[in-house]
């Protein structure tokens, strides 16, 4: 589930009972503004998408999956993220149908928060979700 060509080199530093930490190293292909070297907002969306789904998935039995219903991202600041990015996601509440997740992305070296996000995730019966 982790390997993803849109997020080259992504790895999970932590993924257990509802808390996930992913690390994404810097890559020139992630740039959205060539003048400043800032990472594209879509990179952060893709990274959060994965972290939010994983945060719920790792609280579910193996035969269950997830479908992301919505994702809201607030971009607090732009980042060049030369040392890479870390996304942290926590499942705040899990019901029989829905998982509610809070997530953020920080610069890996400074710990400065780049974005905050909230996602709702639907539990599905058919294994690993989309």
């Amino acid at each position: 589930m982790l390997a993803d060509h849109l997020l080259p080199g992504i790895e999970a530093l932590q993924a257990d009972t509802g808390r996930v930490v992913l690390h994404l190293p810097f890559d020139p292909a992630l740039v959205g503004d060539p003048r400043t070297g800032h990472v594209h907002g879509g990179v952060l969306t893709a990274l959060l998408d994965k972290a939010v789904r994983l945060a719920v998935l790792c609280r579910l039995p193996a035969d269950e999956g997830v479908e992301l219903l919505d994702l809201r991202v607030d971009h607090l600041r732009a980042t060049a993220a030369r040392a890479g990015l870390q996304s942290r996601a926590v499942c705040r509440r899990l019901t029989a149908a829905i998982g509610f997740v809070a997530a953020d992305v920080v610069e890996a070296d400074s710990g400065v928060t780049v974005v905050t996000a909230a996602g709702s995730v639907l539990r599905t019966a058919d294994g690993e979700g989309p």
Binding site: L6, H40, A46, R72, V73, P130
Partner: protein, 153 residues
């Protein structure tokens, strides 16, 4: 003002959308292009590539790819349409996933609901094989100009 702006203006003058995509490394990586249709709307395309599949067992298009695609579409729409003095900067972006994406091309169009001096509000709609099957919608705010006196904390 800057080279980037000149490149954007040259791309617009030539009507060649690919020149705009070429300026953004992450757009190249995703495999995005767009064209202006007969109605004068910009239609964006996320070209199908096997790497964009998030779940091989379904298989379904990766939600992150769809989200990143929609954010690109909004930015390109603003760049193509507006006299923006800078690359629009995303303030917030909210995505609703309506159904799983199929392993095929995805398309998007944008609607700029409001364009102020400094901020634009843009809605994005993404569909596949037939305009009636919307797979995701999104809305976001984008900064169009830098504040004159930047105070940050």
């Amino acid at each position: 003002m800057n080279e980037f702006r000149d490149e954007v203006l040259a791309a617009r003058a030539s009507g060649d959308c690919r020149r705009l995509v070429e300026l953004i490394p992450y757009a190249r990586m995703l495999g995005i292009d767009f064209h202006e249709n007969a109605a004068g709307e910009l239609v964006f395309r996320l070209a199908y590539q096997p790497e964009n599949i998030g779940n091989p067992s379904l298989p379904a298009l990766h939600g992150g790819a769809v989200g990143a695609f929609m954010e690109h579409a909004a930015i390109f729409e603003l760049l193509w349409r507006l006299e923006a003095s800078m690359l629009p900067r995303v303030v917030d972006f909210s995505i609703d996933y309506l159904r799983p994406g199929q392993p095929e091309d995805a398309f998007a169009r944008c609607r700029v609901w409001r364009q102020g001096q400094r901020v634009a509000n843009v809605a994005v709609e993404t569909w596949q094989s037939g305009r009636e099957t919307t797979i995701a919608t999104a809305r976001g705010h984008f900064l169009l100009s830098a504040p004159e006196s930047a105070t940050t904390s």
